[in-house]
């Protein structure tokens, strides 16, 4: 109730601030708004933003503080409302002909931008914090060397489990590689075709259609892998080649996951390729290059950072995917080179250990957190590498 009141009041103050700010600025200019340092809008925005940001900011800080010192919510709301009112009047008072409202607004917006980017950092901190404690508990109960260098993964209910991460890591790597081997060429060629060859009509239809692939729930892919692709691969490849007769396999999961990842590569790359200035294409075509030569040697290099970003995103999804792996690749943690054998990934085991039936204080459950942190660190390394590569090969046009 009080919350609703607060937000309604704040909204009114923000909107009112905008109009009053404009009014006052116009008045201070004495009729000729050109005399103002900043546009009327900025004066309005200045009051509005100052009020809104102060109100919300104090509210946030207040509720944060009250989670430690236990203030009643009424007090927090009251303080926030007062602060917002103060900000309103202060910012309103400051309006004058020479007041640099634009700069003020821009610094506030900049503040917002910084807050927005720090959310990513806070998320990371949150993730690490929420997993670190439990990871610590895990390593108190389980030898770290066995975890990192163990080659068997077989948790069991009576304790005394083997929880070596290596087979899981291997599975993760293998499945992701296959998925990327499917998604990257198809996605990239699709992006190229759509942005460079296809007519506008084809493009405007095909692109959103392919994007639907990203929206199909993964369980559908999983069942597709389980029911259709798995048996097919087994009957037509694995068995004739003598590579085993498991219908769940790395290959199944990888292929199906690859299909899901196509739009990640194609749509994002397509936008970036499309953004390469026409002058680059003209330059190359004018030298007698074919469109494909132009694409290969001029456009792709120029679009590289975006393309790498898209591929990384796809890889990230591959690493984080569970349902397709569970249904497509099985749940066996094996260290094998055979792509037609069942394997599993770190993420799958995070989910299954976390949602399983083992005692929640036992290493069998806690290992999920250790797996999470390890994966986090590993992907971090991967991303550093990617950043380095992009920096090295980046070609900035103009």
């Amino acid at each position: 109730m009080i919350a609703t009141l607060f937000f309604v009041l704040l909204a009114v103050a923000v909107m009112g601030g905008y109009f009053l700010g404009r009014r006052r600025a116009a008045a201070s200019a004495g009729g000729d708004i050109r005399a103002l340092h900043s546009l009327l809008n900025y004066h309005g925005w200045n009051v509005a933003l100052a009020t809104g940001m102060t109100g919300l900011g104090v509210l946030l800080i207040g509720s944060f503080a009250s989670s430690f010192i236990g203030l009643p919510p009424e007090v927090v709301y009251a303080v926030a409302a007062l602060a917002a009112a103060a900000a309103f009047f202060l910012s309103f008072q400051r309006i004058s002909r020479d007041f640099r409202a634009r700069n003020a607004v821009e610094s506030m917006v900049m503040g917002l931008l910084i807050v927005a980017s720090s959310i990513a950092i806070l998320t990371t901190v949150g993730i690490v914090m929420s997993m670190l404690l439990e990871t610590g508990r895990f390593f108190a109960q389980y030898e770290w060397t066995e975890f990192f260098f163990g080659t068997t993964w077989s948790p069991n209910f009576r304790g005394d489990s083997d929880l070596g991460i290596l087979p899981l890591l291997w599975g993760t790597l293998y499945i992701s590689l296959i998925a990327l081997a499917v998604a990257v060429p198809i996605g990239l060629f699709a992006a190229i075709y759509l942005s460079e060859y296809a007519s506008r009509r084809v493009r405007s239809v095909a692109k959103p259609l392919i994007e639907v692939l990203a929206g199909i729930p993964t369980i559908v892919y999983g069942l597709f892998a389980l029911i259709t692709v798995g048996p097919m691969l087994r009957d037509y490849f694995a068995q004739p080649l003598g590579l085993g007769d498991s219908s769940s396999s790395v290959m199944t999961a990888g292929l199906v996951m690859g299909i899901m990842l196509i739009p990640f590569v194609s749509s994002l790359s397509d936008d970036i390729i499309n953004a390469v200035p026409q002058a680059m294409r003209d330059g190359s075509l004018g030298l007698g290059a074919t469109p494909s030569e132009t694409i290969r040697s001029v456009i792709i290099p120029a679009a590289l950072p975006g393309i790498v970003g898209a591929i990384l995103l796809a890889a990230s999804r591959a690493i984080g995917e569970t349902m397709i792996v569970v249904l497509g690749a099985g749940a066996a943690a094996t260290l094998s080179m055979n792509p037609f054998e069942a394997m599993t990934t770190v993420t799958v085991k995070i989910v299954s250990q976390l949602t399983g039936d083992t005692d929640f204080a036992s290493p069998e459950t806690l290992v999920a957190f250790a797996l999470g942190i390890t994966l986090f660190v590993l992907t971090l390394g991967l991303n550093v590498l990617a950043l380095y590569i992009v920096r090295k090969y980046r070609e900035q046009y103009e």
Binding site: T4, S67, L113, I114, A116, S117, A120, T123, T124, G126, I127, M129, S130, P185, I186, L188, A190, Y193, L194, Y197, S204, P208, I210, E211, V212, L213, G215, I216, F224, P263, S266, S267, L268, D270, D271, N274, A275, P277, Q278, T290, P291, S292, G306, G309, A310, L312, L313, S316, R317, G320, T322, I350, L354, L375, L380, V384, A386, L387, Y397, E398
Partner: protein, 450 residues
């Protein structure tokens, strides 16, 4: 300078434009191949889509149909109001379980009639068994609302039990029924007779879209209402938080932040967040939003926040890439006429980067809409029957989401849930397309070459 080495020494002998030379032919062949790969890639994507959609549609469309049966029920005072007081308090003490025998009794005559129409082994209990378990509740609600009708015979329309419904849709056959412990061939015969008599029909089922979930015993009554609302609430939160925050963060990182180790760390960090398995975001949400901030369990607000955090990296990565792709001369031009950097970005760079931003949003939202794992830990993978209120209050009330419903349906034992799972996927995809339609249209308008 040797003539051979120097191309400027003289032009190659003129060749006909109409007859490409060997090298050009080779290059053109390469060009055609390249183009073909592109077409093949696009077709591969489309074929995969068609295959998946076909299987979803063929399995899921029947879920939008449901079989109903008409029956006259004698509202027996002996059961409903044993004391004869007509006191609502008293009537409400009669549990739904007691309504079942009443239905059975009411149907005795119908059963006898049907025995003569080919369903010779039909017992009244079997006939009552053809009616959904939800009928009990339906009757009870009716009686509580109209206590004065007790003692009357009232005509009702009930859902049929899932097996009968599946029979009408051709999934249950006489052969399978013979083996099936949950249905009897006699019931199928009765169903045929009822259909002929006009007391049973299969028609479009809005309830599948609007009704709440139902328990495992009643696949026929399970709907997506709560899940739709939950997904809608969560997507609103994601859209209104992830898009502005993602774009703002990208703008700061790409346009304003000094390029130094710090921003490198943030950059790597964000792409790394994209690789964090979604369930870990659930762990985070549980720790931060529920255990620390004391937001309620199973609430769309928490789901929305968690999905926002999960979607952010996707939007940021896409946005940054497209900001990077805007040529610097555009920024120069704006700065040159005295625009501030902020103005240059918001007035010129952002509109040019819009297609990429929208793509990021489309893909990010698609991902967020289809995600179950993070919701698992914050209590949204649940059985929820009560609709949440309208926002803002409703954001804090329990709800599920469409993918959760899909997941739940696929976990259930009764085979009738299979079509409902696919039906839920169809609804989800329609939701996705509707949600992204604006983005798709906008993106098309912003796309330009320069």
């Amino acid at each position: 300078m040797t003539d051979a080495a120097m191309p400027l020494a003289g032009p190659a002998p003129a060749k006909s434009l109409h007859q490409p030379d060997a090298r050009t032919r080779k290059r053109n062949a390469a060009e055609r191949r390249f183009r073909l790969y592109g077409m093949a890639a696009v077709s591969a994507g489309l074929v995969a889509l068609v295959v998946l959609l076909t299987s979803i549609l063929s399995q899921g469309l029947p879920a939008f149909q449901q079989t109903y049966i008409e029956a006259e029920i004698y509202l027996d005072p002996a059961i409903l109001d044993p004391n004869g007081t007509r006191d609502p308090e008293e009537i409400s003490k009669v549990l739904t379980f007691s309504y079942k025998p009443m239905i059975e009794d009411s149907l005795t005559s119908v059963a006898e009639r049907l025995q003569g129409q080919g369903a010779s082994e039909l017992t009244p209990a079997m006939l009552a068994g053809m009616i959904s378990g939800a009928a009990n509740a339906q009757l009870r609600d009716y009686v509580l609302a109209n206590p004065e009708e007790i003692g009357q015979t009232v005509e009702f329309e009930f859902l049929t039990n899932a097996r009968i419904d599946q029979y009408m849709k051709g999934k249950v056959t006489r052969e399978s029924a013979a083996l099936d412990s949950k249905v009897d061939v006699a019931q199928l015969n009765a169903a045929d007779a009822l259909v002929e008599g006009g007391a049973m029909e299969t028609r479009f089922n809005w309830d599948f879209i609007t009704a709440p979930d139902a328990s495992e015993n009643r696949p026929e009554a399970a709907g997506l209402g709560v899940a739709l609302l939950g997904s809608l609430y969560m997507m609103l939160i994601v859209l209104f938080l992830a898009l502005p925050i993602g774009v703002a963060a990208s703008i700061y990182l790409e346009e304003f932040a000094k390029k130094n180790v710090w921003t490198d760390i943030i950059e790597v960090n964000i792409s790394n967040l994209a690789a964090v398995p979604s369930i870990v975001f659930g762990i985070l949400g549980l720790a931060i939003f529920i255990n620390w901030m004391h937001l309620p369990n199973s609430a769309p607000i928490v789901g929305g926040l968690v999905l926002t955090l999960m979607t952010l990296p996707t939007i940021i990565i896409a946005t940054r890439a497209s900001l990077k792709a805007v040529p610097p001369s555009i920024r120069d031009a704006a700065l040159g006429v005295g625009a501030s950097k902020m103005q240059a970005v918001f007035h010129h760079v952002l509109p040019l980067a819009a297609p990429g931003i929208l793509t990021g949003t489309i893909i990010g939202l698609a991902q967020a809409l289809g995600e179950t794992a993070p919701l698992l830990l914050i209590g949204m993978v649940a059985f929820v029957r009560d609709y949440p209120d309208a926002p803002p209050g409703g954001l804090f009330e329990p709800a599920t989401g469409l993918p959760v419903q899909v997941y739940n349906f696929t976990q259930r034992a009764d085979p009738a849930f299979v079509e409902r799972a696919s039906g839920a996927i169809i609804v989800l995809l329609v939701f996705l397309v509707v949600m992204n339609l604006i983005a798709i249209i906008l993106r098309r308008r912003f796309e330009r070459r320069w």
